[in-house]
Every structure is written in structure tokens, then in C-alpha cells.
């Protein structure tokens, strides 16, 4: 099941592990991405707080954690090829995997249809 935040992150839940990235809409807004700063494995992240930074040619942007948890793995491929976030934002361009501290937090997020409507309203 995949959820979305109103800050344009997605979080894909499989069992007790979640994968986080930014949406296609987000990468389109950012433009050409040249660097992604990922949290170290073991970092505790908090819902709505900074978890990563995306540097585009234009500017630096914060990426927030969609839920509370601990970072368990980061996408090493982004180090060599940050443009993966542009070409495959909701696939190979994922940012990090994390534990789910409170599954209840997922309920406050949007599903794909709701996110689509949200983007259409922007």
C-alpha cells in the first residue's frame, strides 16, 4: 500500500518496513536534481521533520519524514546518479527505508487517488 503526504513525499508499506521517496509532481517542481543528501542508517526520523535534502540546479529543498521511525537502509544508487529522482521518482529513485514506529500515523496520509486530486487542485 502506498501513501502520500501533502509535502509530496510517498511512503510504500510492505509488512513492517516502509520505503520513502518524493513524487513525480515533486521532482517536476524541483527540476534537474544534482545531489541527494540522505539520512544515515540508524537515524531516528520524526513525522513532518527534515529527513533528507534534495539539491536541484535551482535550490535546496527539504524532504520530510512521512511518519516516525528509524532509517534502516538508504538508496546508494542516488550517490552516483541523483537524476534517478527525476527519471524514476516513484521507483528506482527511492530515498530510504524505515521502520514504522506508529502504524496509526499512516491513516492520516492520502492514498493515490486522494493525492492525485490534491495535485490537481494546486
Amino acid at each position: 500500500m502506498r501513501y502520500f503526504t501533502d509535502e509530496h513525499e510517498w511512503i510504500d508499506v510492505a509488512g513492517d518496513v516502509a520505503t520513502v521517496g518524493i513524487t513525480d509532481y515533486a521532482q517536476g517542481q524541483l527540476g534537474d536534481i544534482v545531489f541527494v543528501e540522505l539520512p544515515a542508517v540508524g537515524t531516528t526520523v520524526e513525522k513532518g521533520k527534515d529527513a533528507a535534502v534534495v539539491e536541484s540546479v535551482k535550490a535546496a529543498s527539504d524532504v520530510y519524514a512521512p511518519i516516525d521511525g528509524e532509517v534502516t537502509e538508504t538508496n546508494g544508487a542516488l550517490e552516483d546518479d541523483p537524476a534517478l529522482v527525476n527519471t524514476a521518482p516513484e521507483g528506482e529513485g527511492w530515498f530510504f527505508k524505515m521502520t514504522i514506529a506508529d502504524a496509526g500515523q499512516l491513516e492520516g496520509l492520502m492514498d493515490e487517488a486522494a493525492y492525485k486530486d490534491f495535485v490537481a487542485s494546486l
Binding site: E7, G31, V34, K58, Y64
Partner: protein, 377 residues
Amino acid sequence: MSDQTSEDQIEDLPLDKLALDAWHRAQGARMVPFAGYEMPIQYEGIVAEHSWTRESAGLFDVSHMGQLLLSGPDLDAAVEAVLPIDLSTLKPGQQRYSLLLDEEGGVLDDLMVSRLDDGSLYLVVNGATKWDDIGTLREALPDDITLNHLDEQALIALQGPKAAEALARHVPEAAALTFMKFGRFTLAGHPVQIARAGYTGEDGFEISLPAEAATEIADLLCGEPEVKPIGLGARDSLRLEAGLPLYGHDLSPETSPIEAGLLFGINKRRRTEGGFPGAGRIIREINEGTPAKWIGLKIDGRLPAREGAEVFDGTEKVGTVTSGGFSPTLGAPIAMAYVAATYAAPGSALEVEVRGKRLAATVSPTPFVPHRYYRGS
């Protein structure tokens, strides 16, 4: 996701629309607030637009900039009291870079001054500062000098190695202009003034045209296979690679033109004669040097250092980045910074701090990407 840095904007003021507003939107531009206008930041993407300009030709709408016309009796003496320019050597058809300084020698704006055939002077000033500039000039100039704000004129820059051949199909005479020369021509039946100048480091032109003809002329030029519209995003990355300062970032009332390396903006005769605002400090700095210098930095890795990032030598803070980003041409981060003069020599190894991380940086000669101005064959 949210931007850490925002584009320049003037808060709480209604944004003006460019003459080409609808045209930009029809080309797929994303519009952002900049210098009091809604302006196109990008069309297809900054890197694609940047590379297109370096390889072919890009059309930039810079109509937010202020176009001013000065005329009146004893014009040269009046203007020389305000700008550190030598107007005795500025002949009709020539354009020159100059600076508007405050009484302490701080930079209020940087601008272009052109001499028209009738002796009057045509100025192009920055968009964000144009209203202040008009106030400063009006106050400093005698009442019998007329200052016209040409706000019915649009301004389009055509930049890139193929700009000349694309423009020549419509204005064959413009091909004969060399860098920093201008003339009056007819483009699609409209009177235009074309200067061979720009802000990308490439050969190119700046075309002043009646605002009502802007859409027709933009369509005409973008109808040439070499030309695509280019947004503000690429304009910024292109000028950064060219080592050109951006007012409000690299230049401000807190910076002097001498530390910024803009000695050429203080014309030779004025360096000894003075007689312009801030002359005391400027002449002293020309003779004695400045504590800080504006320099280029090449940064290791891929993480860009942005405006405000601090520059270190070991534990000692020695400077601050004023412009920084990722160079599409070099495929690496570059920046401009003011650093203590002792560290300003090319090759100096320094560090830049970004979000608590130290990045290795080397003082680099500028421009980072060579200028390719057309100075005649």
C-alpha cells in the same frame, strides 16, 4: 518537501505582468515572482535550457529590467557627477558597464550605459532596483536633465553561439555589430535597438523593442530552428559559469566594486580625478587594495554550496559564498564568494560549510566557462 531558498521577491506588492506573460505560459513556462513581476523560471528544464544556450541560442525575456533615457544640457558632466564613467570616450553606438554607488562607495546597482546618436544616454538597470535607481538619479541629476523611464519598451536577450545567424535572417545589419556596440534597426517592421551584449558569457544580443511588438518578435525569433525560450533559472546558472555578478547577491551597498573585481567599471580618468559618489573610498581601495576579494570556487563532489555558505581555512572563517550552484557545463558545483584577500589567489585550498559538512574547495580563476564574445573577425 519545501524550498529552503526562495526566489527573489518583493513581498506584499501585487506582481506586474510582462508584455510576454501570455506568450510565456503558452510556451509551457513555470512562472514565479521575481523583481516584482511574474517571470518564467523555466520551460523544459534548467539544464536543458542552459545547454541549449551554450550550444545554440536562447531567447530570454528581461523586460523586468529598467530602460531609462537621459537627455538635457551638459548631460555628460551631470552624469559623470553620479557615475564613475568617462563619457568623453563613449561615442554614439558604444555601450559600457557602469555602477551606481552610494556616498560610501557601496554598490546601489550595476548598469549599462549607451550613447545614442543625438548625444543622449540610454541606460539599462536591474529590475529589482529600478525604482530606487530612478529616485537616486532624479535626486542627483540637475532639474534640466530629463529622465524618461521607457516602460513601453520590452527587452529580449538572444544569447548563444548561433544567435547571430538566427538574428541575421531578420536584421542582416546586426551581424556587423561587435561586443558592446549597438545600433537602431528595423525588426519585422518595428523600430528596435540592438546591442551586442548579454549576461551569459556567450555571443549574443539585447533587443529593446516596443512592448506591443514583443509577442510577434518572440514568435518570429523562436520560429528559427536555433532558438528556444530560456527561463531565469538557466539565466542564473549561465551567468554564474560566466563569473558575472548578480545584484542583490554578489553586489550590494555593503560591497565595494573594487573588492568585487569591477575596477573596469571605474573608468581610467575617474580613478585619478574622482568626482563621483564614494570616490574617496574607491580611489583609496584602488591604491591600497581591499581586505576581501570576490573570487570563484570549484567545489569537490556534487553538493552545491549556496549563497550564505561560510568559507573556512581550517577553523578560521575567511569568507562567505554570495552565489553558488551546480554548473551544468562542468558537471560540478561552483560558487562565487568574498574571502579575505590573503586567500584569494587561484589554487588556494579552502573549505565551504554546507549543513554542517565541510566541502573541499579550490579558488578558481573566473569565468569558469570561457567567454565567447564577438569582437570582430
